[in-house]
Amino acid sequence: MKYAVINKEDLNKWLEHLKKKARLYAPKEKENLFVFRPVKDVSKICLEYIPTILPPKKYYFPQKEKLLKFQVNPFKTAKAIEEFEEFILFGVHTCDIAGIQCMDVIFRESPEDPNYLNRKEKMTIIGIECLKYCDEHANCTSMATHVPRGGYDLMMVDIDKVFIIHINSEKGEKLVTGLSYIKEAKDEDMFRLDRAREEKKKIFKEELAAPLPKVYDAFDKSFGSQVWKDVGKKCVACGNCTAVCPTCYCFDTADDMELSLNDGIRYRIWNSCQMDDFAKVAGGEDFRKGRDSRQRHRYYRKFKYPVDKFNRYFCVGCGRCTRTCMADISLKETVNSLIAGQSA
């Protein structure tokens, strides 16, 4: 079976089933925004949502994660986490799945990151394809992340009274087979899916002022651009943009002792290039002193450096950095200003 169909009225039944299989995380409302949370009540899940405050990365790259346990006297170390639990991320947008693919590239690079890989191995991703824009801040069409491009186990598309589900892995297949209310998709369903995708093409248009190769060129030539000065002036270095980015993966490590002062844990905690001391080294030299150079670094980490290194853009177009910026720094505007600066 490649495609399956489930009636919307059976969705909660399926969710109850999934909940029994593994720990289930899904988007739900938080005040006027949305967050991924462990599912207690399946009826609280919200599948029509603008990208959550934090991307689901908090489940495979937690904000603060124990790495190892140690004892000072006699000296001993051990893994901090013995066993990782199976979990399902439900209702993930295609942009966030692209984010997971980027993280994969980073954490699988030698030396591989065992904590990330251990979590990733236990993760099942059930995506949902957007058929309309979340809001005006997204640039997913330009980044080509508005359509499913792998990286998931199941992908749901909301078609009238049903969800059509693309089955992309064995793990995914096991979650839809043997259930009376999930059936194989018929030709008629596939026809409706094609038609929905055609409609989608009319709505989703490239949001950046030029195609990606031109964006790359603009970055290549804009290191000294005035745009960075303007962005730096607005920026307050709150670090919101990097915390909410699905592809920001920087972390710091530190030790925490128990009161015995003999046992402790080593943990890692999210860190960000937007922090004042991020590029400060012993001796006090700071390689990115101004907020302008730190913002520029963030952008180059999305549109230039990973392209050179991995042949992949690390912006997934989710729009979170723009949405969360209290100083109104807009990714679309910044990139478009660079493009305009180059063609002028």
Partner: protein, 255 residues
């Protein structure tokens, strides 16, 4: 770690509300674990006797009289380790508001016709008068940070204060940003370390931990103005706890 004789800890207070010591008393059962590691010899909120022989002095409050200066210098001479405890002791805190006007006016306002009998000097955090070895920020101090600093003291390690905005922690806690709800917040310029304690509980950040080393005052002012605040209100927000650090934002705000 081999247990040597336990270091003796004494608490002192200057110009403040003694809420920091109360917070120490609020530590709960961990306080009992702490007494395995240190001897508390002077702590008037929880004990009646007062020892004068101590290794670690934990001092709350700002310096605001000539007598305060002499007293803190004496404590410094005796203590091997001096800890500034809470906003008043570390950044001047709300006492700094006094420094906005002349001392004469401040005295008159508070003491009226008895003003001439009062000795007062500008309010200062401890480090402006004596060397401070450790700082425990916050008003009142955040219990996990009190414990973290004590552990550092006992291990002889420095306690490194975060030099980034509170927003970093707040975002990790996935709070809905106050600005998202058109409510002001001092998060963007305030030093992190309290795990966004107030915002997690539905309040705003008041900036009680002091400003980061390099606050983006200009950008922060633009944000506050954008959200419809008057310059005067912004000043009040910035200075509630941070008047003693005035020079950091004066150039932008006091124009």
């Amino acid at each position: 770690m081999k247990k040597q004789s336990k270091p003796k800890v004494a608490f002192f207070d200057f110009t403040d509300c003694e809420g920091c010591q109360l917070q120490f008393a609020n530590i709960g059962s961990t306080l009992l674990d702490l007494t395995e590691l240190v001897d508390i010899v002077n702590f008037r909120e929880i004990m009646s006797e007062a020892g004068e022989d101590y290794d670690i002095a934990i001092v709350e409050g700002s310096i605001s009289t000539d007598n305060d200066v002499k007293r803190i210098q004496k404590i410094r001479e005796k203590a091997k380790v001096l800890v500034a405890f809470g906003s008043c002791a570390t950044i001047g805190g709300v006492n700094g508001i006094k420094n906005r006007t002349s001392l004469e006016l401040a005295k008159k306002r508070v003491y009226g016709d008895k003003a001439d009998l009062i000795n007062t000097i500008k309010a200062m955090p401890l480090h402006e008068v004596v060397k401070v070895d450790y700082k425990i920020l916050n008003c009142p101090p955040y219990i996990p940070e009190i414990i973290a600093v004590l552990k550092c003291i006992l291990m002889g390690k420095p306690y490194v204060l975060p030099n980034y905005a509170l927003c970093v922690e707040c975002k990790m806690n996935e709070n809905v940003c106050r600005y998202e709800k058109d409510q002001e917040c001092m998060g963007p310029v305030t030093r992190a370390g309290c795990n966004s304690w107030c915002v997690n509980n539905g309040n705003r950040c008041y900036g009680c931990r002091g400003l980061v080393d390099n606050p983006a005052s200009e950008g922060a002012k633009d944000i506050l103005l954008k959200y419809g605040l008057k310059l005067e209100d912004i000043m009040n927000s910035f200075t509630l706890y941070n008047d003693c650090q005035g020079e950091k934002f004066d150039q932008y705000l006091k124009k």
